[in-house]
Symmetry: C2
DNA sequence: TATTGTTATACTCTATAACTATA
DNA sequence: TATAGTTATAGAGTATAACAATA
């Protein structure tokens, strides 16, 4: 394609993955900023809404981030009245993360915006092609690479 | 798929793109570390080898990074004897980036390792599927998203 | 002993502003 | 005035170690 512009790096699959993701992330960040959210805080909120009562440790595992980096993130969501930390009967170490009404509403509105964002960003692909793309990507991340 | 594990975020194409890229980047970093390179320094070296005489500004444009962040990177490559900064006749502001013999050799060896890395990381996909993946990704990053 | 939430910290990556020398 | 290279710095994002409370 433009081998003299990028000197052949565009032959690599990883290069094209990164470049496409950069486009997607830039647009997503703009969309979520209107809700006062970043990608990671949107994900956290959505998981809490759909898994009420999840603990911070389990949430960190699901989001594949460090639990220490989740503390301030949950602080933000809690300060905005989107979620609450509730005591868990039987284990006083854990906090159950419970979505507040405002959190549920924001997650729903943001999810609609994210779906619109994906429709826009992947408009060049047909629905079938989008399904193919997801299928191929899943097989990449689902595959064990090293022992 | 595991909608109760990730609470539905895996429905998003962007989520699958990021997750796949994380796997790819982790493996690539390991591979390039054996050559004392990061992804960005490998890309820079490869472009210099295939576009001898390119200036730092033009290289920054190709790599889509800030020229200020290129200075130390080129310092490293130069200190290792992989490239040199040569004066450009007719414009004393510019430096022509010239690959040294060691730089050409390292770029070739690293490129073979990167190709082996891609063969390994995308082993779950047939050659046709890899071509399809690249084609779909290119159409995503080539598409203008916002005006 | 191990786990949960927390704090502090360090390290990488990236972006921006300002400077110099040249054009 | 504008551009190439450079320096310094600041902001994200992420990773690690240590701690108190609890299991």
């Amino acid at each position: 394609m433009n081998d003299n512009l990028d000197a052949g790096v565009s032959q690599f699959i990883g290069y094209n993955m990164k470049r496409a993701l950069t486009v997607v992330q830039a647009d997503l960040a703009q969309v979520l900023a209107e809700f006062g959210l970043r990608a990671v805080s949107y994900s956290a909120l959505l998981v809490i809404v759909r898994t009420p009562g999840i603990s911070q440790s389990d949430l960190a595992d699901v989001l594949r981030i460090e639990k220490s980096n989740l503390v301030q993130l949950i602080d933000e969501l809690a300060n905005r009245g989107l979620v609450t930390r509730e005591p868990v009967p039987g284990d006083r170490r854990r906090h159950a993360l419970i979505p507040a009404k405002a959190g549920i509403a924001l997650a729903e509105a943001a999810t609609r915006a994210v779906q619109a964002h994906e429709d826009r960003v992947f408009a060049a692909l047909s629905m079938l092609e989008r399904a193919t793309l997801v299928h191929l990507l899943r097989r990449v991340w689902a595959m064990p690479v090293r022992a």
